[in-house]
Amino acid sequence: MISRFKLVFGALAILVPVIASNPAFAVNPDEMLSNPVLEERAREISKELRCLVCQNQSIDDSDAELARDLRVLVRERLVAGDDNEEVIDYIVARYGDYVLLNPPLKPETYILWASPAVLVVLALLAVFAFYRRKQREGSPASASLSKDEQERLDELLGTSNDDGKS
């Protein structure tokens, strides 16, 4: 077992060089561009790009070293005169669509992008069919209740605390 004393001092001994030399931090002041328009574009682009070694974080959010390198690269490309799309293409050419937090529209992602709309339409159809069927079975107001049902209804209306119309 390591004693507390040894542990802490061991840690301090290791810590000093690690912190002195570890440059990783999300958007350091020394990375930032002096041109505020370009810097704003750089932040915009960085938010769209995934930090490869993290879970769904953008390189703008990440402390990882690679994310920092990519941020610097994005800024270099902007300074070199690339527009936003060219910068993103530059990164995608090296790392693939995997780096795009917003999955691009292509045959492989048609199902993904279509799914919300398809689900909404299916749900609308189902809900519509549900109400149609209920209506065909008789509207709730006119349906004659069985004795048991009437009892239950009375019980509900009597005990429930809201002011339902009876």
Binding site: E65, L66, A93, R94, Y95
Partner: protein, 178 residues
């Protein structure tokens, strides 16, 4: 009609379960490279301190199959795979090049190789990590197999293990060579 609606969950569930059960042993944590079957990027890296030969794209297009191994002295798994890289360079009979990735101190790579042995035909020093990015490196160690025309044909992410070496890398190299 109710029958058909009630069967939907069963079908969807079966489909999903099927996909997951069929792929249970596939490793999805490795991101396949987009650079496979594409020419290796243009680069020219300086040598390690005290050496005179660096590494550039010209080395990879000499007409023979080659291996490019990305390593760093600060990377723990690199240390673990190093003996296997040595074995690879002995057994595969192809040049194994080293890309020394993002050392904090240029001397670190030299010391590391002096301590563990140097299996590399040539080593380029990528202090900025920019060549690494051009190669799509995201986790060191990574190992590329490049054919004689300079096309990247295979990439392994993570430490090379005995199994990877014997079942994947060596057969792949043999296939490309012959």
């Amino acid at each position: 009609m109710r029958f058909s609606i009630a069967v939907i969950p069963l079908v969807l569930f079966a489909a999903l379960a099927g996909v997951f059960l069929l792929n249970i042993d596939k490793d999805a944590s490795v991101v396949p490279s987009v650079l496979i079957d594409k020419p290796a990027p243009e680069f020219s890296l300086p040598p390690l301190p005290g050496r005179d030969k660096g590494l550039s794209r010209a080395d990879l297009t000499k007409g023979e199959v080659s291996v490019l191994n990305v390593f760093a002295s600060w990377c723990v798994p690199c240390r673990a795979e190093h003996p296997l890289i040595k074995r690879l360079s002995r057994e595969a009979d192809v040049p194994v090049y080293g890309l020394n990735y993002k050392e904090k101190d240029p001397e670190d790579g030299v010391k590391w190789l002096a301590e563990l042995g140097d299996p590399y035909a040539a080593v380029g020093m990528d202090l900025s990590g920019r060549t690494g990015i051009d190669f799509g490196v995201y986790g060191v160690p990574e190992t590329f197999i490049i054919d004689g025309t300079g096309q990247i044909r295979y990439k392994h992410v993570g430490p090379v293990t005995v199994e990877v070496l014997e079942k994947v890398l060596l057969p792949k190299i043999a296939e490309l060579k012959g």
